[in-house]
Symmetry: C3
Subunit: 427 residues, 3 copies
């Protein structure tokens, strides 16, 4: 019997080998496997050339194989070993060239000599190979055979959309991306954690809010999705999370929405402060993922990010070192449970108002110790504090922050007070 | 000739022996003695069973005597020695029982072995005795005679109300409670200090505001009073203070209203910062007296608390150690004078506006040194600062905070500027 | 070829010897020499007795000579050596008197024995001499000859006004004063720096805003000027600076407007934080120059002050030690360039709004590196940050503060984005 964390990790292992990019069969295969868990996932194809705001859906890219053979006939770079070896969106090539010419197509990291860097060139036609600096150093002059069996042609951009209706059409938005080849924290952690959040949401007996969950390629995917849906989203989305870098177990990170104080931000901070008070807090200036689109002027969605180690802030970022060993069942589950708590807080939030003036007489309802002594006054403190701030002006979440208790401690108390008709929802 | 502090202390000595509770003759006798100083104090009786919001006025409780006699025939607990020995609202009992049964009715404090705890059971019928742990320890098995000559029956809840009309019907509210038996800081200090504040107010030649001063039992008394008066109070009260724990001389304490920034809060902070800057600042979350009712949702009165050692925050609290030796003339007078300064600030506050554009020429009015030199610029600084901020947008109190001077330093200057027609009240 | 700082210093040297006061020929001569550089400077005369708000234009004062001769026949105080020797606005006197009587008319500084203090008596008729304490100490009893050849009579108050029209009638206001006799930092630095700012503004090919620049006597001059112009100024002035104490090179100082958050304040803080982050920050409570009038209730202009060593805060203030050696080309130029940057920021400010939803595709416009790698994401950070906050809700200046870059770094980027039609001014 696997733990939840192990189940998420297992999905990451399963999806890891697929060579994803912003378009192509790698995305389709990834979505197909996710759809096995989320049968109503709807897969959309947007044709090459489709105008999306300032952008155009690019050619679709697919790749079958790629290698470099050195003057001694040894295959020194091999796409079959790591799909990171090829610059993303490389044009096809099949040629012999000397080292000097080849060098202009090689990418390595002198400071991280054992890491293959992750490099892409979506919008300018290029080809290239990425390799470790340790691989590159010993290369000697001579004739190299270079082959990239790729294809750039009209096709489509593929994304998945998972809609869960709730009691109202106001919705919570989750976004993650499926365009990174074989890397772990950034990025298989996002789609895997999101898949399990979607499963949990699908299993709820009732949902206060509707949910819109998208599995998209980064940047061009979110822009494409927004260009088709932003008006409805601006009307409906009350909170959203961009789910990325949720797999390692080194830290927790928070990056605000541009507006900084949306419901998504307040929930994220409430959960992190109560569960992982040592979390790292970033500024919107340190953004770098799809919040750039969701929070852009004119879009202005309330989308915040909760991460483990943030993109750009850990040494293995965008290299082959960000592999399955960097993420862990514990790391994935930690992010999953924080995000789950956020969703639970949003679902449980309401605007409570005490129904009677002055404190109610809790004693006659069995809610208060009947013998008053030096210590007993503290016993029902939380219940009284909740009532004291239930003035119909602030939400349960805001009260939780004000009285310094986690929201999940207040929810059952609030339920009991509502059941006793001492409190009601005036939201 | 007694000092003011000694006079307040003497009243505390006089009222100390009376056995008060939330109802009964102890409250009546206390109010009768206060009425000797405040002849127009009006005493109200509210019958048992009267509905007050979520509460009902309970039976009236009176007690004549109570004791426990040990197997050796010695009276080991005696109500005549301390009225704290009997649990408040104890039902009558007259029985013989063994130690084991008696133990279930005894209350003592192992951590404070020489203190009789103060225990009550207003809303569940019980009887019990409180004793020091030192008294309790040597008790040996055997037959004990137990007697409580008390009475719980239909009667009424008694409170006192003192109304002083002013130039407007906007009013300042003072509340204190008269339900505690023989204890000093919490609580004879409150009614004693409040009596002297009321005397001072009654002696004023004119009052800008009306004053509503109540002497009530805690909790049920404030709820009862509010249920009869809250609509008028919500319309009229501009600031209020709950006066409790104002007798010892260890510290000053401030507890805000729920809204935190009412006139009462701003005045309290202004006075304490200027007179006792080392005061303790509490949060509304640490409340515990009648501010719980006055600031409750739907009531929302601007009531703050200024205390010496706050309830629950000093070791003698709610025990027999909180006696007349804990409070002092200096302690009582310190609280009295801070509260008096608050009332004086409220009375003197207005919205000043400079009547001329630019700085006025103070020199021609004899308000400015005529010889300008290196130092003279500072001499009329406070007057100029007052004028500089007298823009008709903020009150004298707000200006005092802004320019960093106590309000009582600004009041005579403001009077002079008004007399010179350089300033006027636009409030 | 002189540097800008040397040119400003040279003007200070030229104006230094003139004996200025709040009225009289010294002001006229100073303005005449400034008019040589600013030909369209308009010189106004306001007659003695003119009512200006609470004030009246005083008699005009002129002085030709003054001295004290000691019992030995030596001229021990001589106006020709320093015009600070005579109390400003001294009535004429020509008499013999003993030391005791003379002493009542002498002003010196025991703590600064080598400094002549600067003393005036504008609104009470007096005469007096200022001298160093070293000069005063050896005076011995005997008959002293005392002569002040001055004149107090109906005349006028003189000020200069320099108006530069811009594209709108919204204007930036600069004020400096020309009433101090021979002193350097306070005050020849102000008119000299202001003259060069005016020259720079006059040379601009186009100005977004109009400019109103006044050279006035302090206090009575600003009050007089406001009484004639405040309604128009309240309608038009968007930001202003009181220019005083801008000549030494010890520090930079900022004193806010009374409102504290006007455009003038925000620009001043932006420039100082980015260029001289160690600047001294004062409160409006520490004001002392014409901001007292410009920010007074009813006038309420957005006028802040940027200074080098602030009036009243350096030891030489208002003494003969504040001479040409205290100021320097570097000191004057430092203040000049900070004020110039403020004017440039105001001129360049606008309300940018991104024209496309989501991030624009910078690559296709040559604004973005086409090869995405680990470092390239940071390369266009500032441009992206500017676009990310260009929501039509805040000015370029506010965005500069938000993204932590100096405004002058954003201006060319904003221009390029506007040229690419990716941004427009919606202000």
């Amino acid at each position: 019997m696997l733990t939840s964390g192990e189940k998420i990790y297992k999905l990451a292992e399963q999806l890891f080998p697929i060579c994803r990019s912003i378009t192509g069969d790698g995305v389709r295969e990834t979505l197909r496997q996710i759809k096995e868990r989320l049968p109503s996932l709807r897969i959309h194809e947007v044709p090459t050339g489709t105008r999306c705001f300032d952008w155009t859906v690019p050619h679709e890219w697919n790749i079958r194989d790629a290698w470099v053979v050195d003057p001694d006939g040894r295959k020194i770079i091999d796409f079959q070993i790591s799909n990171l070896h090829v610059v993303g969106y490389s044009t096809p090539v099949n040629a012999e060239m000397d080292l000097e010419e080849l060098e202009q197509h090689l990418y390595s990291l002198p400071d991280q000599p054992n890491a293959i860097p992750y490099v892409t060139s979506y919008y300018k036609e290029r080809w290239g190979f990425c390799l470790t600096h340790e691989q590159r150093q010993p290369l000697k002059p001579g004739a190299y055979q270079v082959m990239i069996d790729s294809e750039l042609k009209n096709g489509s951009l593929t994304y998945g959309e998972y809609i869960l209706p709730g009691q109202t059409d106001r919705e919570v938005f989750l976004s993650t991306y499926v365009c990174h080849p074989s890397m772990g924290n950034n990025e298989l952690s996002g789609p895997c954690v999101t898949t399990f959040l979607a499963e949990w949401l699908a299993g709820l007996a009732e949902r206060q809010y509707s949910y819109r969950i998208v599995f998209i390629p980064e940047t061009i995917g979110s822009i494409t999705y927004l260009s088709r849906n932003y008006e409805e989203m601006k009307r409906c989305v009350i909170a959203g999370f961009n789910i990325t870098c949720v797999g390692d177990d080194r830290t927790y990170s928070y990056l605000p929405s541009r507006a900084e104080t949306t419901l998504a931000d307040r929930v994220a901070l409430h959960v992190l402060r109560n569960v992982h008070p040592g979390f790292q807090r970033y500024e919107y200036l340190e953004r770098g993922s799809d919040e750039r689109q969701y929070c852009s002027p004119g879009i202005d969605l309330p989308v915040a990010s909760i991460m483990r180690s943030k993109f750009g802030c850990y040494p293995e970022y965008h290299t082959s070192l960000d592999d399955l060993s960097l993420i862990s069942p514990e790391g994935l589950y930690g992010a999953y449970s924080v995000l789950l708590k956020c969703l639970q807080c949003i679902e449980a939030d309401f605007v409570p108002r005490a129904t009677v003036c002055c404190e109610p007489q809790l004693g006659k309802r069995g809610l208060y110790p009947t013998l008053s002594s030096k210590d007993s006054a503290m016993a029902v403190r939380t219940m009284m504090n909740l009532l004291a701030y239930a003035d119909g002006q602030c939400t349960l979440l805001e009260i939780a922050d004000k009285i310094g208790r986690p929201m999940w401690e207040l929810v059952p108390i609030a339920k009991r007070l509502c059941a006793e008709s001492l409190m009601k929802n005036v939201g």
